[in-house]
């Protein structure tokens, strides 16, 4: 019996030791630049090519899940819920020749994309939604990016529990991909608050964390290192890769 206990506790100690080693390796921040050195290879290998699969209306997931982020609860966002987004405006500014502010009516008038695509969450699950909205590329043509513009940075109305603003970014190639859209409708209805109302990004060629919800304004910039954590997005600042085609 004693021997059994000894074997069990030795094994337990060995197993705990295993987690200690992997925990300290993963917590060793100096290694991150080395590990992240393959991210440009992922980007170069897979990149932004081809088209995400298009699904049939019968494939649409009935209860489209809501994940990780709470619906914004700041006063200015709650006011939109009161007036049904009548006062919502979407400014597109930064390194553009023709900065513009769009109303929802204007965005609806520009709507051309109507696609049933799969949402791949970084956690490993997937769902299918019918999305309708404006091709981001067509909006960029209207505001005319300057030659030095390389990234489209989207700022959200949402903040996390610590008050950090949610945001995300794409490069111009990803933004101009014909399936990348500023979505207004999900499954035949205007997007509800939980799913990112009134305007959210949908980029089916990348993981879900790139699809910024509750977009407040869009900025074109030469780089994103000056924005918040400097990694190009809220999730990127938490350690996820900027290129999320993988």
């Amino acid at each position: 019996m004693k021997r059994k206990l000894f074997v069990a506790s030795t094994m337990a100690a060995a197993l705990t030791g295993c987690a200690k080693v992997t925990n300290s390796l993963a917590g060793w921040d100096a290694l991150n630049p080395v590990l992240d050195s393959v991210n440009p290879l992922d980007h170069a290998l897979i990149g932004t090519r081809g088209s995400a699969k298009l699904y049939k209306p019968s494939d649409v997931t009935v209860d489209y899940p809501v994940n990780s982020l709470d619906t914004p609860h700041q006063a200015e966002y709650l006011a939109f819920l009161e007036d049904n987004f009548a006062t919502y405006r979407l400014p597109i500014t930064g390194l553009v020749d023709h900065p513009q502010t769009f109303t929802l009516r204007q965005l609806r008038a520009l709507t051309t994309l109507d696609e049933i695509t799969r949402h791949d969450c970084v956690e490993g699950w997937s769902v299918v939604g019918a999305w309708r909205g404006v091709a981001l590329g067509s909006l960029l043509k209207l505001v005319r990016p300057k030659p030095q513009a390389r990234y489209v940075i989207m700022y959200s109305y949402d903040h996390d529990g610590d008050g950090t603003q949610f945001y995300g970014s794409l490069d111009l190639t990803q933004a101009a991909h014909p399936q990348t859209m500023l979505a207004l409708d999900l499954n035949g209805k205007p997007i509800d608050a939980a799913h990112g109302a009134p305007v959210r990004l949908r980029i089916p060629t990348q993981l879900g964390y790139k699809s910024t919800k509750w977009i407040r304004n869009i900025e074109l910039a030469a780089d994103f290192t000056h924005v918040f954590g400097g990694q190009g997005g809220y999730w990127e600042d938490q350690g996820y890769a900027w290129y999320a085609g993988i």
């Binding site: 705990t16 987690a19 390796l25 791949d120 699950w125 990348q206 993988i246």
Partner: protein, 286 residues
């Protein structure tokens, strides 16, 4: 390579080698890529289980569908007594403290799929798991490419490939190992069973594990829609990736068993220092 009697440095294996002779078995390239791949497989498996834990279930369908659930690790600690369960093809087993409700990698227990001692890192951190997984995926692929290119160029790899002429030799070899046959069949550097195992590993399993991993990348899906269809869809690809990991672990276990049972020191010497002492009936042609 001509070597005179009494030569100090071991010679490369030829079909004129005699039993008991010490030969140079594995090149530096083979030894380095072998250990790089080993390290990569360890980290890929552990970080892969970390990634799996973020959605601890597998479906045999394109989109998640509980009706096609193959595996699910669940836990419940709300009711006072914590319970962990594993459900395989609809059959549920209680696996408290092992799977579903288990070691959180920080000295406690919590609801999670695989335990902290087998995930990388031990605590739940999907971003870190992905970061390590993708780096070592590149190490695995690069080690494989170097091994294939150099191995083919030097003709080393050709000795390892199972050929149609090896097929009739498979059973006699197996019969010998099962003690159904007294005499060991003659073979070259690798016996027919080794050839079958390594050919399956190098040309089927390793490419399959890489391909099914890539199939989980939405950017890759956009390029290779038909491949995802062939695998049965996106979530099915995730299941195949998991199954190919299990097959790799299976290969690994068999490999280690054989390494230990056929002369551990001699085998380890050949894969570290490169030299190997031929056993009886060994080294008589490819």
């Amino acid at each position: 390579m001509e070597v005179t009697a009494g030569s100090v440095s071991p010679r490369t294996e030829t079909h004129e080698d005699t039993p008991g002779q010490v030969v140079h078995r594995h090149s530096v390239t083979v030894r380095l890529t072998h250990w790089a791949a080993f390290l990569a497989i360890v980290v890929l498996t552990m970080s892969g289980l970390q990634i799996f834990n973020a959605a601890p279930y597998l479906d045999a369908s394109d989109i998640n569908n509980p009706a096609h659930r193959v595996l699910s690790l669940d836990g419940d600690q709300a009711t006072g007594t914590a319970v962990g369960t594993t459900t395989i093809f609809g059959h549920t087993f209680t696996t408290t403290h092992v799977l579903g409700y288990t070691d959180d990698g920080m000295g406690g227990e919590t609801v999670r799929g695989f335990p902290g001692w087998i995930t990388f890192p031990g605590y739940q951190d999907l971003a870190a798991g992905r970061r390590w997984h993708f780096f070592f995926a590149w190490m695995f692929v690069l080690a494989g490419l170097v091994y294939f290119i150099v191995g083919f160029a030097r003709g080393e790899l050709q000795l390892l490939i199972l050929r149609p002429s090896d097929l009739p030799k498979l059973w006699p070899m197996q019969a010998y190992y099962l003690h159904l046959r007294k005499e060991k069949p003659e073979h070259g550097k690798y016996n027919p069973l080794q050839k079958a195992g390594y050919t399956a590993m190098l040309f089927l399993l390793a490419p399959f594990v890489v391909l099914t991993g890539l199939a989980l990348a939405p950017g890759f899906d956009a390029i290779a829609n038909p491949l995802i269809w062939l695998l049965g869809g996106r979530q099915f690809a995730r299941t195949w990736h998991f199954v190919s990991m299990l097959a790799l672990i299976g290969f690994f276990c068999g490999h280690v068993f054989l390494v230990v049972s056929t002369g551990f020191i001699n085998n380890m010497r050949s894969m570290t220092l490169g030299t190997y002492r031929l056993g009886p009936h060994e080294g008589t042609g490819p």
